[in-house]
């Protein structure tokens, strides 16, 4: 009896010791070393990760001993929370992905980015379109990876062909097309606005088309008044809702748009439950994923959000890229890795996934027809407006996103929108934001 208990105790002690030896290193307080580079990014699709893994492998072959550790976040989480919280950690990333605009500025202000020029290979910058390389006081902090178009209308080509529908050139045409789709018993658009940014970005493009970049940008600045006339174009959101663009009984019930996540909406479209889906250029990576898994049963086309009568065909777009943390113990390796990632070899791989590279030779290696189309769009658009969540302060953007959500669910009428927005801004000012 006593022996049995003793045995049990020794067994327990042995087990804990074994566990500690095998996994106890997780309890260690590790210090960042020069040979371990942490790379934070938001490339989550299998297709993108395959490219990154290949680049990491090539880099590690060329730099024996140096390891690159990828920290992969969901882009919404990274965009709202992770981008800032990662600098609170004891293991800050050495290099990290970002959207140009407010967030990059914020990182610069806080000293979370370092000047890359001393470490760059000669001639490297000349490979890029000059406008994509933005120096500040002679220093360069940000290397561009891609220009993301925030709103594109993706559609089921086969379905359009069957119904003899064509890509619309104007807003009127588009709304008519949506009505036709609905009459044929097809959900025009699968959209999920649970987290507010999907339709908010769309609405920002509507404002960009009707107002241009400066006027629409001013709306998001703190303390600036809101002119009710400026918001007239948001009428489109309400028209689309009333037309039934976002619901069809049996597929999505009325009002479902507010409870559905963006990923779920994306899946609905890819599984053929809707004819169109509004999402950014990065959606091409999902399309390729679905294609390579043989899950896609139809061919896909895209067109830009059509402008209203007499308006400019503005695009909402943002440049993404990479920064290097000044706390890194090995800035040279970090920059060299970015150079490899931004080389023609890997950028041409990314281009197949809709990545619109800022390299001068991007036109040559962008071969996917959809990606080509996007490059054309970018080249011809007269106006580019930033998506609110990367262009402006997060709380100012949040007010706009919330307002659009309310307009869509009918909780707020358009006549009161300006008043609502102004009041929310005043509230932000009152709590010091």
């Amino acid at each position: 009896m006593r022996d049995a208990r003793k045995l049990k105790r020794w067994f327990g002690v042995g087990f804990v010791t074994l566990a500690f030896v095998l996994t106890g290193h997780r309890l260690a307080l590790t210090q960042p070393g020069p040979n371990r580079l942490k790379f934070a990014h938001t490339f989550t699709t299998d297709s993108e990760r395959a490219i990154l893994d290949a680049a990491v492998a090539e880099f590690e072959r060329g730099h024996p001993g140096v390891k690159i550790e990828q920290i992969i976040s969901n882009s919404e989480v990274y965009n709202t929370v992770g981008w800032r919280l990662q600098f609170q950690g004891r293991n800050q990333p050495d290099l990290y992905f970002h959207w140009q605009g407010f967030k990059v500025e914020y990182c610069l202000e806080r000293g979370w980015a370092m000047d890359l020029t001393p470490h760059l290979a000669p001639g490297f910058l000349e490979q890029f379109v000059p406008s994509a390389i933005q120096k500040q006081n002679g220093a360069l902090y940000f290397l561009p990876q891609s220009i993301d178009i925030s709103n594109l209308v993706w559609y089921d080509r086969d379905r359009f062909a069957r119904l003899h529908l064509h890509e619309p050139g104007t807003l009127r045409e588009w709304l008519r097309l949506c009505a036709q789709l609905r009459q044929n018993g097809i959900l025009p658009l699968a959209q999920g606005n649970r987290d507010l940014w999907p339709m908010g970005n769309f609405a920002a493009e509507l404002l960009g088309q009707s107002l241009g970049v400066e006027k629409s940008g001013r709306l998001f600045q703190p303390h600036r008044p809101i002119n009710p006339e400026y918001l007239g174009r948001l009428q489109t959101l309400i028209e689309m809702r009333d037309l039934g663009c976002f619901d069809l009984s049996g597929v999505l019930e009325r009002g479902a748009i507010g409870g559905l996540g963006d990923i779920d909406a994306k899946v609905l479209f890819l599984s053929g439950r809707s004819a169109q889906h509004i999402l950014g250029s990065w959606f091409l990576a999902d399309v390729q994923d679905a294609r390579s898994k043989d899950e896609l049963k139809f061919s896909i086309g895209l067109f830009p959000v059509p402008p209203g009568d007499g308006e400019t065909d503005a695009l909402t777009a943002v440049t993404t890229g990479f920064l290097v943390n000044p706390t890194t113990r090995n800035p040279k390796a970090a920059v060299e890795f970015l150079e490899l990632l931004l080389s023609r070899k890997y950028q041409s791989e990314f281009a197949k996934l809709g990545n619109l590279s800022a390299r001068r030779d991007a036109v040559e290696f962008t071969s996917d027809p959809l990606a080509k189309r996007m490059l054309e769009l970018l080249a011809t658009t007269p106006v580019i407006v930033p998506p609110p969540d990367t262009g402006y302060r997060p709380e100012q953007a949040a007010v706009f996103y919330e307002m659009c959500g309310k307009l869509l669910t009918g909780r707020l009428g358009l006549p009161h929108a300006a008043e609502y927005w102004a009041k929310e801004k005043k509230n932000l000012a009152r709590k010091g934001l």
Binding site: A19, T23, R26, L27, A28, L29, T30, T44, I71, I72, S73, N74, E76, V77, G82, L85, Q86, Q88, G89, R90, N91, I263, D264, V267
Partner: protein, 210 residues
């Protein structure tokens, strides 16, 4: 997922061990009627028990950073221990009050030293209370989400609930993998509950009625 599981095991195991250890010591001390300011301490721990985590959540990030443990498993083990201590102390105090004083006297006569007395007499006697505390603490820490979400940035250090959310966002439609992840969190607690349901239920009642 495997890494999250191991992290959760360490966090849960060490927090529970610390809670039982410190909780039993303090509970034993507070069970003595002549302990200085006894009523005050008991009231303090009672307030600590009902205090919502949000009361101390926000400055903890900065504090953990200052201590140099932010973004490590210790950033969870320490707050989890603190969070679960009050219930443990109150339960142990109540348990040891009902313990006959002769026990200690006898031990003293036998010349048993404090540490030995604690490990070889007190803890075995308090076995039901220990089981109860271990059960509640393990459940609480295994399932804790809010602090784990805020204090751990490094994906390698995430615990299961937070890792599960990250996984769900990244692989939204990979149902087999999602299901595997969900079972990895739930099966251990359900299994432990199936085996120790008496202790857990007793723990819930004791924790509730205290």
């Amino acid at each position: 997922m495997g890494a999250y599981f191991i992290n959760s095991l360490w966090v849960t195991g060490l927090s529970a061990a610390a809670v039982v250890c410190f909780g039993a010591w303090a509970g034993f001390a507070l069970s003595k009627a002549r302990f200085p300011l006894r009523k005050f301490w008991l009231a303090l721990f009672f307030i600590g028990m009902i205090l919502p985590v949000q009361s101390y959540l926000i400055p903890l990030t900065g504090l953990l950073e200052k201590l140099g443990v932010h973004d490590s498993l210790w950033a969870l083990i320490l707050p989890y221990t603190a969070q679960n201590l009050p219930v443990a102390i109150l339960l142990f105090a109540a348990f040891f009050v009902s313990l006959p004083a002769e026990l200690e006297e006898a031990a003293k006569l036998d010349g048993v030293r404090t540490a030995r007395f604690y490990f070889s007499i007190l803890l075995p006697v308090a076995r039901p209370a220990v089981a109860t505390i271990v059960a509640i603490t393990c459940l609480n820490t295994w399932n804790e989400f809010l602090m784990a979400m805020l204090f751990i940035v490094d994906p390698a250090m995430k615990t299961l609930p937070v890792g599960m959310i990250a996984f769900e966002q990244a692989h939204n439609t990979d149902y087999p993998a999602l299901l595997a992840g969900l079972s990895l969190i739930s099966v251990p607690t359900l299994l432990v509950y199936a085996i120790f349901n008496k202790q857990i239920i007793r723990g819930v009642i004791a924790g509730a009625v205290k």
